[in-house]
Symmetry: C2
Subunit: 479 residues, 2 copies
């Protein structure tokens, strides 16, 4: 046999010196990104074609120096990142990531483990299973750490509903006869999951909410009765432990009672809010968590991990194995030891799985659960401070708040129609975002345009809250 590659063979490896030199540049770029993340403008105003033009080009045939690659990160990409770590970033539900989590993520890429099964990544698998037990303990799910780390809450919610629906399959109900239930405020990922799973849109029931935007239990019960009467098969109820829209927490205990009485799968979406159950103030949620079949929570939200890492905790590991455990010839597990025979691919859609657990492990080790809870508590206190100030300002109208989300609007006595108030608040938000010193995202509550502030940030201080409301008042008054 002759060497099939007599020509100089390309290698992508760096020498130690080059790795050190390039790595030092990368570290500087990472520091720049983290610093810039705390600097205005939070998002630079730019048109689509302008941003596109910065990177658009045909597929390159020849390579360029890695230094040029790194320069482009800083020159063309960073200027058009939204600075989600800024202390006055109040949009959506986006965390400021803990730097130790960022470093751990870098290490995970260097390790490049694929967490398919224990036998293929023993160390990483044990860390990830440990993290599942820790998260279970942190929020009081009361399971044994069954579940899986996912790319986020949407994926966790999807996996939960897939298990619930498959349980109904096994009981003989075809998908088009199944129904699922959630409040109108529930996260869009669960509606999407229902549709993807084959439940007709009309059977994905968005139950109306009460004045605190909590699922109306009486209407849920009535819908369940009505569906059963016409021969439909309820397969799951989704309750929110902190809706992403307004933070609303459904009446978890009552929903759990109803699900227990009717033998229904209870999924709790705590992607955003579940970690609050570790605080004294919201520890009451743990009672319901312990009765749920599944619970989502996102370490890349209120546990300050960089994206992506979500988590699904599951009561019945065997159920997910029955759905996802489909053996193939080249992935057969032959181990017999209970630790060694474990395979994540028996419990989810993914085969190769990034080592997402390392950043969660590292953050929990470096800060301790108490260190994290202290920041969650503070974020909640900051929302309360924001509500206090709104209550003191006659021109500001509260529209509902819970956990670390508050919705409100500028509504001066001079305002006339609802349409005018909507337009006024739309302009306020646009101005704030355009000026770049703070960021909120809008929402619509009972058809009204609302300003929405969400605080999942270890950098936010009470002066940032004042700044935001001062700006709303200043811009509103000037309009």
């Amino acid at each position: 046999m002759t060497d099939p590659t007599p020509h100089p063979t390309p290698s992508f490896d760096f020498s130690q010196e080059e790795f050190q030199r390039v790595g030092t540049r990368v570290l500087a770029a990472m520091w720049e990104a983290i610093q810039k993340g705390q600097t205005a403008p939070i998002i630079a105003p730019a048109r689509g074609d302008e941003v596109r033009a910065l990177v658009d080009e045909p597929l390159p045939r020849q390579g360029i120096a890695v230094d040029e690659v790194i320069s482009t990160w800083s020159s063309a990409m960073l200027p058009h990142c939204r600075q989600n770590g800024h202390p006055r970033f109040f949009g959506y539900v986006v965390t400021s990531p803990d730097p130790i989590g960022i470093f751990a993520d870098a290490m995970a890429s260097a390790m490049n483990q694929g967490l398919t099964a224990w036998r293929s990544a023993p160390g990483a698998t044990e860390v990830e299973r440990l993290v599942l037990r820790w998260l279970d303990e942190l929020v009081g799910f009361g399971g044994v750490g069954s579940g899986i780390l996912t790319s986020g809450g949407s994926s966790a919610n999807f996996h939960a509903l897939a298990c619930a629906v498959h349980k109904a399959d096994a009981a003989g109900a075809p998908r088009h006869q199944q129904t699922i239930y959630m409040s109108r405020e529930a996260h869009v990922s669960m509606r999407k999951a229902g549709r993807v799973l084959g439940i007709p849109d009309a059977q994905i029931h968005l139950i109306p909410v009460d004045e605190r935007r909590r699922l109306r239990l009486d209407l849920l019960a009535a819908q369940l009765d009505q569906d059963r009467e016409v021969g439909l098969v309820p397969s799951a109820v989704c309750a929110s432990a902190g809706g992403a829209n307004t933070g609303a927490i459904d009446p978890l205990g009552e929903v759990a009672d109803l699900c227990a009485a009717q033998d229904l799968w209870l999924h709790i979406d705590g992607a955003y809010g579940a970690p609050a159950a570790a605080t004294t103030k919201y520890a009451w949620m743990q009672d319901a968590f312990r009765r749920a079949d599944s619970l989502s929570l996102d370490p890349h939200k209120w546990l300050f991990a960089p994206a992506d890492v979500g988590c699904l905790l599951l009561r019945d590991e065997e159920g997910s194995r029955q759905l996802f455990g489909w053996e193939s010839e080249y992935t057969k597990v032959t181990q017999t030891d209970p630790i060694e025979r474990f395979a994540f691919f028996d419990h989810g859609l993914e085969m190769t799985r990034r080592f997402r657990g390392l950043k969660v492990w590292s953050i929990l080790k470096a800060r301790g659960a108490d260190g994290i809870i202290e920041v969650i508590d503070r974020d909640i206190e900051l929302r309360e401070a924001l509500d206090d100030r709104i209550a003191q300002e006659p021109e500001l109208e509260p529209l509902g708040s819970e956990l670390s989300i508050s919705c409100f609007r500028f509504n001066p006595s001079s305002a006339q129609t609802e349409a005018e108030i909507d337009e006024l608040n739309r302009r306020i938000l646009e101005t704030i975002v355009h000026e770049g010193e703070a960021y909120m995202s809008p929402t619509y509550l009972e058809g009204r345009y609302a300003l929405r502030a969400c605080i999942v940030n270890f950098r936010t201080r009470v002066e940032d809250i004042h700044f935001l409301l001062d700006e709303v008042l200043r811009i509103g008054r000037a309009e």
Copy 2:
């Protein structure tokens, strides 16, 4: 309003000096991981309870120094990583990641963009859409770059089948009447996807294969006829452009003809093999790619990106929008410009999405398409060299090869029964894995135990191929 946090408020931020100091330690740990990734043993023999004991502890309440956290990565985790980047790692389909991809992944964590929609991450969204156009161009899909980066091939395959099945939904077929088709050699993720989507297991047809393990077109056509006769509704055919088991490539052109004639969704799973279409040798696959409705390919396999990043290319963007585009109150897109109004969440399950595109962009920029293709070509040549050597060794029996995968077994003339040959090869593989100087994974072909070598590695050289086969012969002869 009083400051709600008069106590010293915890911050997770590092000073610049501390960031530099810790970052330098992290760089050293990353270098260690990458170096160790090229060092024997590829996997250290260890029992489940031993590995677990290295990290097991209750949820920590108090934090520890970040230096201790980093030390534990090296002391407790690295020793139990499988060294997937080793030049003689021939197991499964796992790449040796390009260091520039590792660095880009670290930068992505520092940027912490959530690629929900253009408006939330303009720069990252443009890079990721550019990467989709580049991947489309690289493999000759002939689309416009519609599609989505996913966590891997399993997720890409799932999204493709979800779109196909939803198209059949829209045509009025309930899930339990739908059918999908793939060969027995097709990746397990597609069977799982079918089940999750609500297609009964009996209607997920695993069509027999020919002597080269390619889907039998005649049997596919017969099964389609038979299903239609009993009122079932075929919703998709999945063909493999390089099966993960043996590398088998289905008769893509003929399958495309059949799908065109019968108006069936054609999904091609090229998670592993699609990048080979960029080489001269396998460019013929592009004809079929251009006729497929969807194509999966994994940059974290043969494009040398660290996990995770998969990709789904889609012909009809509108179809995925109809399935996944379910608007919610707090994510309404109000932009009108076609670039600015784009939202990834209209085309997939995920909401927050990690900036996976940065590592793909960085690798393609640093190496150029030609640099990548050169390595893919070499990996294929190495498999051919392996086959040549097998042909020369009377004790080695070839069991089929394609692309960069070759299956074979030790089968000396002295061997008696098939069961004995199986057992002999099982012991050879166990010894190789235990000794740690090389790694293969087993598979079962027509019920026979097979040794399987897969080369998606920029470090592998022809001497590594010789080493592997020398070991197989040495151990086999000594048994």
